[in-house]
C-alpha cells in the first residue's frame, strides 16, 4: 500500500523529523491562500501514487503569486501515468547546498531491513543504482539490535564529515527505522534529504509503502489508502479471496494459484495469444468464488474468450465445475469458454462440465491453442 508524500511527512513530523513547512490543497484558491501563509517561493507538487511526477511536469517552483496560480491550474487535474491529480502539496521553498538519498526497505537475501544511503540524492535512485552502484551504501540491520547509535553513526559518517551533521543524521536514521518498524512499512525513503543554508538536515520529499499483510494491525495507516478504480476492483476481488489484475489482452483467464496463473499467461503468449488479466482464485474450494470470478471476467468488454485452468489440490475440480454451472445459469454468457481441469476430483468435474456440452481439453497447451483459435474467430465477427 502506498501513501502520499504529505501523509508520509505527517508521520515524519510525529517523530520530530524536520520537514518543510507545507499545506495540502485541492483547488487553486487553496493554493493561493497557502502561498499567502507560507511566503514565496513555494514548490507545488502533485500528490499521486505514481513515480516520475517530476518528469511528467507535476512539480513546479513558483516565485510569484502568478506563477503559483499558473502552476496550480496546470497540475491540478493533470494525468500522471493514469492517475488524475486531485491535490497538490504547497511547500515552502528552502535554500540548501547538498542533496542526499536515504531509504529503508526489506532485503530478501539477508532477511533483514536494510538502510540505503547515498550522496547522490535528488535524482532517481534507480538510475544511480544502475549507473554507479558503489555510490549507494547498504547496511543490513540486525533485527535483534535494531538501529543502534553506532550503526547510525557508521552510516552517517559515509555521508557527512561535519560532526554536527553526523549527530543530526544519527537521530534521523534511528527515527526512520522506528517509523519503519512501528508502521509495518515496506519502504521509507527521503529523496532528497538536504542540508539547509543554516546547516540543518531537512526532508524535502518523503515516500512510504506498507506491507499489505500487516494492515490488519495498522488501522491508522490503512485509513490513508486511496485505491484507484482498478485497484478497488482488485481489492474487492481480494476480499472474495481472488487476486485480479486487469491487462490489455482478449483471453480472460481463471486459474488457481499465482504461479500457475502466470505460467498460463506465459503459455498463452507462447502460442501467440494475449491474456486479458491475471486472475488467481486461490486455494480453497468454494463455488461462490468461481461465480465472482466469472463476473469479473465478463465485466471486461475486451474479453473475447474465457480460459479456465484449474489444478486441483486444495481446490476441488468438481467444486469449480459446479460453480461454473451456477454462474452460467445466472448470467448470460455469449463468449466461448475453454476448460481444463486436472488433479483432485478432476473426473467428476469433467463429467459435470460435459453435461453442458462445454469444451474441455486435456493439456494446458491444447487449452491455450484452442482459446487463441476461438478468440481469432470472435475478432472476425
Amino acid at each position: 500500500m502506498k501513501i502520499h508524500e504529505f501523509q508520509s511527512k505527517e508521520i515524519f513530523s510525529r517523530y520530530s523529523i524536520p520537514v518543510t513547512a507545507e499545506k495540502v490543497c485541492y483547488t487553486t484558491d487553496e493554493v493561493l491562500s497557502a502561498v499567502q501563509s507560507l511566503g514565496m517561493p513555494v514548490v507545488i507538487k502533485a500528490q499521486v501514487h505514481a513515480g516520475g511526477r517530476g518528469k511528467a511536469g507535476g512539480v513546479k517552483l513558483a516565485k510569484t503569486i502568478e506563477e503559483a496560480r499558473e502552476a496550480a491550474n496546470k497540475i491540478l487535474g493533470m494525468d500522471i501515468k493514469g492517475y488524475t491529480v486531485k491535490k497538490v502539496l504547497v511547500a515552502q521553498g528552502v535554500k540548501f547546498n547538498a542533496e542526499f538519498y536515504v531509504g529503508l526497505t526489506i532485503d530478501r537475501n539477508s532477511k533483514t531491513v536494510v538502510f540505503m544511503a547515498s550522496s547522490e540524492g535528488g535524482v532517481e535512485i534507480e538510475e544511480v543504482a544502475k549507473e554507479n552502484p558503489a555510490a549507494i551504501h547498504k547496511f543490513s540491520i540486525d533485527p535483534d539490535l535494531g538501529m543502534t547509535s553506532f550503526l547510525a553513526r557508521k552510516i552517517a559518517f559515509k555521508l557527512f564529515s561535519d560532526f554536527s551533521l553526523v549527530k543530526q543524521a544519527v537521530d534521523l536514521f534511528q527515527k526512520l527505522y522506528q517509523i519503519f518498524m512501528d508502521t509495518d512499512a515496506s519502504l521509507v525513503e527521503i529523496n532528497p534529504l538536504v542540508i539547509t543554508d543554516e546547516g540543518k538536515l531537512l526532508a524535502l520529499d518523503a515516500k512510504m509503502n506498507f506491507d499489505d499483510n500487516a494492515m490488519y494491525r495498522q488501522s491508522a495507516i490503512e485509513k490513508l489508502n486511496e485505491p484507484t478504480e482498478d485497484e478497488k476492483k482488485e481489492i474487492s476481488a481480494k476480499e472474495s479471496g481472488l487476486t485480479y489484475i486487469r491487462l490489455d489482452g482478449s483471453i480472460g483467464c481463471m486459474v488457481n494459484g499465482a504461479g500457475l496463473a502466470m505460467a498460463t499467461m506465459d503459455v498463452i503468449k507462447h502460442f501467440g495469444g494475449s491474456p486479458a488479466n491475471f486472475l488467481d482464485i486461490g486455494g480453497s474450494s468454494n463455488p461462490q468464488k468461481v461465480i465472482e470470478a466469472m463476473n469479473l471476467l465478463l465485466a471486461d468488454k475486451n474479453v473475447k474468450v474465457i480460459m479456465i485452468n484449474i489444478f486441483g489440490g486444495i481446490t476441488r475440480c468438481d467444486d469449480v465445475a459446479r460453480g461454473l454451472i451456477v454462474a452460467l445459469d445466472e448470467m448470460k454468457v455469449d463468449i466461448p469458454i475453454v476448460i481444463r481441469l486436472s488433479g483432485t476430483n478432476a473426473e467428476e468435474g469433467l463429467r459435470i462440465i460435459a453435461e453442458r456440452n462445454l469444451p474441455t481439453v486435456n493439456s494446458l497447451s491444447d487449452a491455450a491453442q484452442l482459446a487463441i483459435k476461438l478468440c481469432e474467430n470472435c475478432s472476425e465477427n
Binding site: 526489506i106 506491507d211 499483510n213 494459484g257 500457475l260 489444478f311
Partner: protein, 289 residues
Amino acid sequence: MSILVNKNTKLIVQGITGRDGSFHTAKMKEYGTNIVAGVSPGKGGQTVLDIPVFNTVEDAVKATGANTSIIFVPAPLAGDAILEAGNAGLELVICISEGVPTLDMIKATNYLKKKGVKLIGANCPGLITPGEALVGILPADIFKKGNVGLMSRSGTLTYLMVSLLTNAGLGQSTCVGIGGDPVAGLYFQELLQMFEDDPETEAIVLIGEIGGDAEERAAQYIKEHITKPVVAFIAGQTAPPGKRMGHAGAIISSGSGTAAEKIAAFEAVGVSVASVPMEIPDLIKQKMK
C-alpha cells in the same frame, strides 16, 4: 534417501483443530505421514483423528519426541507459532499460513537460524517425499517415487510440473514448495545443496518466478557448488512490470527481478530454461542421458 522429510519424520501439526489444519492432517495421515501430535492452545487433552492435542509445542515435543512441525494457524499468529516451534527443539518447521507480515518473518527466520532449526515458508504448500511422507497441502496422487528433486516458489504450478514429470515417467525424490513471500525460510541455495548431497536425486528442477533475485543467487550457487543437472522454468515471463501477481514476491521493479534477467543468469551457468512448463520433461531427459 530424500531430503528433509522421510519415514523417520515425527510430525506435529500446529493449528490441528482449525479448518485447514484438520483437513490436511487427514490427508497427510492418509498418505502415511507419521503425525504424532497436534497443538492447539486451550484444547490440550483432546484428540483429532486419534492424534493427541497439546496446549504448547513444548508439551507435544516432550510427550512424543517429534522432530518436525507444520503450521496452519491464521497469519497474525503464524510468526509466534514459528518462534514457538523454533524454541521447542525441533529440526524442521514448515509454515503453510498465507499473509504473514514481513516484519514477523524477519524476526522468525532470524531466530530459527540462530537456533539451527530449518524453516520452510511461510506461504508455501509444504513438501513431499513420495512414498515416505507428505508434509504439506500438495495433492498426493500426482507424485511418484523417483530421482528428480524439485523446488518451487509456486504451489499449483508445482502440481502442473509434477504431473508433467510423472506422465513422462520421471518420478521425484523430494518436492519442496519454498513459498513466494519476500522473507522466507530455506531458499534455493540450501535446497540445491541438499539435493546435491542426496544420493537418490539425479536431476533437479527449479521453478522460479519474477521478482526478487532468488533465481540469480541460485544460478551463482549452481555455478560454484552443484554438479547434478538442473533445469528451470520462470513463471511470469509475460507479466507486465510493477504489478503484484498474487505472490508478494512476484513484483518486477527497478529493472531487477525480470524473467529475462533470471533466464539469462541460468543460461550463463549451463542451466536449461524451459519457455513453457511442458518442455521440462524433455529437458531433463536430455540432461540425464
